[in-house]
């Protein structure tokens, strides 16, 4: 699964996710990636989110929308909201990670696996890429 979240100069957030699903999947199985609120969510009032992981658990935990809700209704900063939402999925049995970017340019990239391919770039144009924990 791949994903991206962005904040433009006009202050607008967007999120996108794309995937090939899981190896050996059957019966028309669909995971969280195309489910708005589960694998993808964006709201200018809060943040933009893209998830990757065990789709069934991310759907049940409505992970992407939960990040936004925690920011909007509990006033959590994006790193704490992202960690909390991911932990909700983990408690159900789901592993994976997510990226989240808020309306002020703050971001989080939590994951509960041994690694996640990830990267960021800010207004200064300096890109950084990480893979391992």
């Amino acid at each position: 699964t791949v994903g991206a979240v962005a904040l433009d100069k006009a202050g607008n957030l967007a999120a996108g996710t794309s995937t090939g699903g899981t190896t050996n999947k059957q019966f028309g199985r669909v995971g969280d990636s195309p489910i708005i609120g589960a694998g993808t969510y964006a709201n200018n009032e809060t943040c933009a989110v893209s998830c990757t992981g065990d789709g069934e658990y991310f759907i049940r935990a409505a992970v992407a929308h939960t990040v936004s809700d925690l920011m909007q209704y509990k006033g959590m900063p994006v790193p704490e909201a992202a960690e909390t939402a991911l932990e909700n999925a983990r408690k159900l049995g789901g592993t994976g990670g997510l990226i989240a970017l808020d309306k002020d340019g703050n971001f989080a990239m939590p994951f509960n696996t041994s690694g996640m391919y990830r990267g960021k770039v800010g207004a200064d144009g300096k890109a950084s890429v990480e893979i391992y924990r």
């Binding site: 995937t19 090939g20 699903g21 050996n24 489910i35 709201n43 391919y117 890109a127």
Partner: protein, 169 residues
């Protein structure tokens, strides 16, 4: 002025011990290309939607990642792709699921958002919509990669008991 982008290329069992230097460099290069594609749009004042779409195109076109060209195989030996996009300004959203002949599903997800009254289209209907929008469908062979095919064969041969987490079908 604040602007920026964050991307991911999937999470999972990624260990240094099983990664060759060449493969690690290939991943890093691809992720940097994705960031550059998105940043170029943001830097010149383009929209976050355009940046997200451009960054994901790079990853969809790279066989290293499980999306687009590098999609994993289903039990039947096909490739089924899912994608979604959301606009934080309007809360508009679009998605496609179970498509088999669309090179860049993120772009069709965006078309669903911007050019249809719907949020999600699936399977043949999504592909019919894509054709109506002028998208050229690709042969299913486009998505074939030997590494992903061998992963499916290994998975099918595995006799290890499946946990609840493995029963995603």
């Amino acid at each position: 002025m604040k602007f920026g982008m964050v991307i991911h290329g999937g999470a999972g069992t990624i260990e240094r011990s099983t990664m060759t230097p060449e493969k690690e460099q290939a991943y890093r290069t691809a992720l940097e290309q994705s960031l550059k594609a998105g940043y170029a749009i943001l830097e010149r004042g383009g929209s976050s939607l355009d940046a997200v779409e451009a960054a994901i195109h790079v990853l969809e076109d790279n066989p290293l990642f499980n999306a687009g060209k590098g999609a994993v195989f289903t039990h039947e030996g096909t490739n089924e792709l899912d994608s979604s996009i959301m606009d934080g300004k309007t809360l508009a959203a679009g998605a496609v699921a179970g498509v088999k002949h669309i090179r860049n599903p993120i772009s069709v997800a965006r078309m669903v958002m911007e050019k249809s009254p719907h949020v999600m289209l699936t399977g043949e209907g999504a592909e019919a919509f894509a054709k109506e929008m002028g998208v050229t469908l690709v042969d299913a062979k486009y998505f074939y990669t030997e590494e992903r095919w061998q992963e499916l064969q290994k998975e099918k041969k595995s006799t290890a008991p499946k946990s609840d987490q493995d029963r995603h079908g």
